[in-house]
C-alpha cells in the first residue's frame, strides 16, 4: 500500500544492479532496486503477485510486477521486457541510476491460504516474472508447503529468464523444475516442445494442488484447457492478467475486464472468477 497522501507521487529508487536476462528485439532486463527514502523502504510491504509503477521522470511510467519475494530482502526486483517507449528507456539504465516507483498495487497470490498444498507454476516467456515471487516465497518456506513444481518454457533458450536460478534449483527433491523450449537447439539438455504439452506429459495430479499460470495469451488458453483436462477445479487455478493501465489505482479506467479493475481487483484471479467474464481472455 502506497503510504503517500498523494497516491500519484512515486518514491525515488536507486538501481543496485541490472542485467539482461534475454537477448533480441524484445529482450528482458532485470533491475534490482532499493527505495531511497529509508522510511519508505521500511514501510514497503509487498506480497507475491503485486505490481508497481516503475518509471523515469521525463519519460513515463509503466506497470510491472514485482518479481521478487519479500523473503528475499529489503529490495525490489523488476524484470522488464523491451516493448515501447518506457521500457526502452528503462533498458538504458544501469546500476546507480534513479527510478521512480509507486506501489505496491493490486491483490496478491494467497500464499498463506495455500500453505500445506502443492504448488505448480506454469510460465511462458516474461510470464515467469509474476511467478518468480511465488517460487521464491515457497522456496523460502518450503517446510510449510507440500512441494513445488515449476514448468517454464520460452521460444528459445535465449528467451528464458532467470536461467542461473534454475541451475541452482535442480538437484533438489522437494522441488522440481521443468524447462522447455519450442524447438530443438544445440547444447539444450532439457525438454523441447510447447508448455501446454509438457504439462500433459507431466500430468500432475490436481490433488491438494494449486496451479498458477502466466504467459502469452495463447499459451494461457491451452494451459487452462489442459488443466481442466487434468481435472483441476476452477478455484485451484490462478492466473494474472496484464491489461494496459496508467494509474494503477482504479481510476484511469482502461484495465477493466467486465466490472473488475485488473489493477485493484487483480492482477491475480482464479479461473473461477475469470471464466464468467467474456472479456477476460479476449
Amino acid at each position: 500500500m502506497c503510504n503517500n497522501a498523494n497516491p500519484y507521487i512515486p518514491y525515488v529508487a536507486t538501481i543496485e544492479d541490472a542485467w539482461f536476462e534475454t537477448v533480441g528485439e524484445r529482450c528482458v532486463k532485470t533491475f534490482k532496486v532499493t527505495l531511497d527514502d529509508p522510511v519508505a523502504r521500511k514501510n514497503w510491504r509487498h506480497q507475491p503477485g503485486q505490481c508497481a509503477m516503475v518509471g523515469q521522470l521525463g519519460v513515463g511510467e509503466s506497470m510491472f510486477c514485482i518479481s521478487c519475494s519479500p523473503t528475499e530482502g529489503d529490495f525490489l526486483r523488476f524484470s522488464i521486457m523491451r516493448a515501447g517507449k518506457n521500457t526502452q528507456a528503462l533498458h538504458e539504465l544501469e546500476a546507480g541510476d534513479k527510478l521512480t516507483v509507486r506501489g505496491p498495487y493490486g491483490n496478491t497470490f494467497p500464499v498463506d491460504e495455500w500453505k500445506g498444498k502443492k504448488i505448480l507454476t506454469i510460465g511462458g516467456g516474461i510470464g515467469q516474472a509474476p511467478l518468480r515471487p511465488i517460487v521464491e516465497y515457497v522456496k523460502a518456506n518450503l517446510d510449510q508447503y507440500a512441494g513445488l513444481t515449476m514448468i517454464y518454457g520460452a521460444r528459445t533458450s535465449g528467451d528464458l529468464c532467470f536461467k542461473d536460478e534454475f541451475a541452482a534449483m535442480s538437484g533438489r527433491d522437494d522441488l522440481s523444475c521443468h524447462l522447455t523450449i519450442d524447438v530443438e537447439e544445440e547444447g539444450w539438455e532439457y525438454n523441447v516442445g510447447f508448455v501446454p504439452s509438457l504439462l500433459m506429459d507431466l500430468s500432475p495430479s490436481p490433488e491438494n494442488t494449486i496451479a498458477i499460470t502466466c504467459g502469452p495469451p495463447i499459451m494461457i488458453r491451452f494451459v487452462l484447457e489442459n488443466l481442466k483436462k487434468l481435472n483441476f477445479a476452477d478455484d485451484q487455478i490462478y492466473t494474472t492478467l496484464e491489461n494496459r493501465m496508467k494509474c494503477g489505482i482504479g481510476k484511469c479506467g482502461r484495465c477493466n475486464v467486465g466490472s473488475l479493475y485488473v489493477c485493484k481487483d487483480g492482477p491475480v484471479f482464479t479461473y473461477a472468477t475469470l471464466k464468467d467474464i467474456p472479456e477476460a481472455f479476449a
Binding site: 502506497c2 497522501a5 498523494n6 497516491p7 500519484y8 507521487i9 512515486p10 525515488v12 531511497d36 518509471g55 521522470l57 521525463g58 519519460v59 513515463g60 511510467e61 521486457m81 516493448a83 515501447g84 521500457t87 534513479k98 521512480t100 502469452p216 495469451p217 496484464e242 491489461n243 494496459r244 496508467k246 494509474c247 489505482i249 482504479g250 481510476k251 484511469c252 479506467g253 482502461r254 477493466n256 475486464v257 467486465g258 466490472s259 485493484k264 467474456p278 472479456e279 479476449a282
Partner: protein
C-alpha cells in the same frame, strides 16, 4: 432554509460578489459553452440548454499537472491543488453526475487533485427547457433534481430563485449580501410549476430498470456490431459525458523542465487498451461500444451501485453519426 432571490438586473453584481472567490460559470469559449473562471460577469451565459462541455472539466480538468520535476533530478514538486471555490450554473444532471464520479475518485485510493476541487460550492440551475435529448427522468433525475447541489437556482423570468440546500449553499448566500433579497411568497410555487412544466417537456424516455441485469446476456448480440458500424471511434461521447472519467498519464518535457500530467482519455479510442505486444483486448469499435454501454449500465452498477449515466443527452446530441443511447437502451430492453 430560507430561500432568496436575485433580480436579473442585480445578477451581475451578484456574480461580481461571488467572483471575489474563484468562481466558475458557463461562458462562451471559442464557439462553445463551457465552464470557465469568471473575470467579467457579463460574459456568464445562463440562457442555455446546457453547456457543451460538462462541469466535470472544472473538477477534473482535461489536462492536469500531477507534479513537476527537473529532468535529471529526482525532486518532485506537487502543484497547488484546488483553485475552485464556486461552480455556478450547473445543471441538475451534471451535478448528479459529479456525485457518481465521486465514487470513482474516492474508492480505496483518494484522488487528492479531484477531492480538493470538489470542495467547491456547487450552484445548480434548474432546467426550464430541457433539450431534445434529455432523458434524465429515466435515470431518476429531473430538471430540478438537487442531488449534488449546494444551492439551486430557478429562472423565474425577472429573477433567479435561490434555494439553499446545504450549509455551503447558505454560506454562499450570506456572502452575496445585498445583491439578494428574500424570496416572495409565490416564488416557490412559481418555481415548482416551472419545474413541473419542464418535466412535461421531456419526451425522451426509456426504461432503464433491468438493463444492468440484462446486459451480460447480450454479450454476443448483433446490436453491438450494428451500433459500432457507423461509430467513428472518436472522443465526443466520452469527453462530453459528465460521468466519463478515464484518463491517460504522460510525461511532458520542455528543455529540462518536466511534468507528469494526466489528460482525458476515451474508451472509444483504439489505443486505449492496446497492449505493448500489439494485442488489443478490444480490437474493434464493436467491443469498444459494448464496453462503453456496459461500463455505464452494468459494470459501474456492479461496482458502485448506480448507473454511470444521468441522461443529460450530450452523447446523443453531439454524436456525429446519430448513435443514440436511448435507442441502444431500447434495443437492450427489447432484445431476447
Amino acid at each position: 432554509m430560507d430561500m432568496k432571490k436575485v433580480r436579473k438586473e442585480k445578477f451581475a453584481d451578484f456574480l461580481a460578489t461571488l467572483a471575489e472567490q474563484k468562481l466558475y460559470a458557463p461562458q462562451k469559449v471559442g464557439e462553445s459553452l463551457r465552464f470557465a473562471p469568471v473575470t467579467d460577469s457579463g460574459k456568464v451565459e445562463l440562457e442555455m440548454s446546457n453547456t457543451t462541455v460538462p462541469p466535470k472539466s472544472v473538477f477534473f480538468p482535461q489536462t492536469e499537472t500531477l507534479y513537476r520535476y527537473e529532468v535529471g533530478n529526482t525532486e518532485i514538486q506537487q502543484p497547488a491543488m484546488g483553485g475552485v471555490d464556486i461552480v455556478l450554473g450547473v445543471r441538475p444532471c451534471d451535478a448528479r453526475a459529479q456525485v457518481i464520479v465521486d465514487s470513482l475518485f474516492g474508492w480505496d485510493y483518494n484522488d487528492p487533485y479531484y477531492q480538493e476541487r470538489r470542495k467547491a460550492t456547487v450552484v445548480g440551475l434548474a432546467c426550464n427547457k430541457p433539450c431534445v435529448n434529455c432523458f434524465c427522468l429515466s435515470l431518476g433525475g429531473g430538471p430540478a433534481s438537487t442531488v449534488g447541489l449546494d444551492l439551486l437556482m430557478t429562472d423565474l423570468g425577472d429573477a433567479y430563485l435561490l434555494q439553499p440546500l446545504t450549509e455551503k449553499g447558505e454560506k454562499l448566500l450570506a456572502l452575496a449580501g445585498e445583491t439578494v433579497e428574500t424570496a416572495a411568497a409565490g416564488d416557490r410555487e412559481a418555481a415548482e410549476s416551472l419545474h413541473g412544466q419542464a418535466e412535461q417537456m421531456i419526451t425522451r424516455k426509456v426504461e432503464t430498470a433491468g438493463v444492468a441485469e440484462k446486459l451480460p446476456g447480450l454479450w454476443e448480440h448483433s446490436l453491438w456490431q450494428e451500433t459500432a458500424n457507423s461509430c467513428l471511434g472518436c472522443g465526443i461521447c466520452t469527453f462530453l459525458c459528465p460521468t466519463c472519467h478515464c484518463f491517460d498519464i504522460q510525461d511532458e518535457v520542455e528543455g529540462l523542465e518536466g511534468r507528469r500530467c494526466r489528460m482525458w482519455d476515451s474508451c472509444m479510442f483504439k489505443e486505449y487498451t492496446l497492449h505493448a505486444s500489439g494485442h488489443n483486448p478490444r480490437p474493434t469499435r464493436r467491443e469498444r461500444t459494448r464496453n462503453r454501454i456496459n461500463h455505464k449500465y452494468s459494470y459501474f452498477v456492479q461496482k458502485f451501485g448506480h448507473t454511470a449515466c444521468v441522461g443529460c443527452g450530450r452523447c446523443i446530441n453531439y454524436c456525429p453519426v446519430n448513435i443514440d443511447l436511448v435507442e441502444i437502451l431500447r434495443q437492450v430492453k427489447e432484445a431476447l
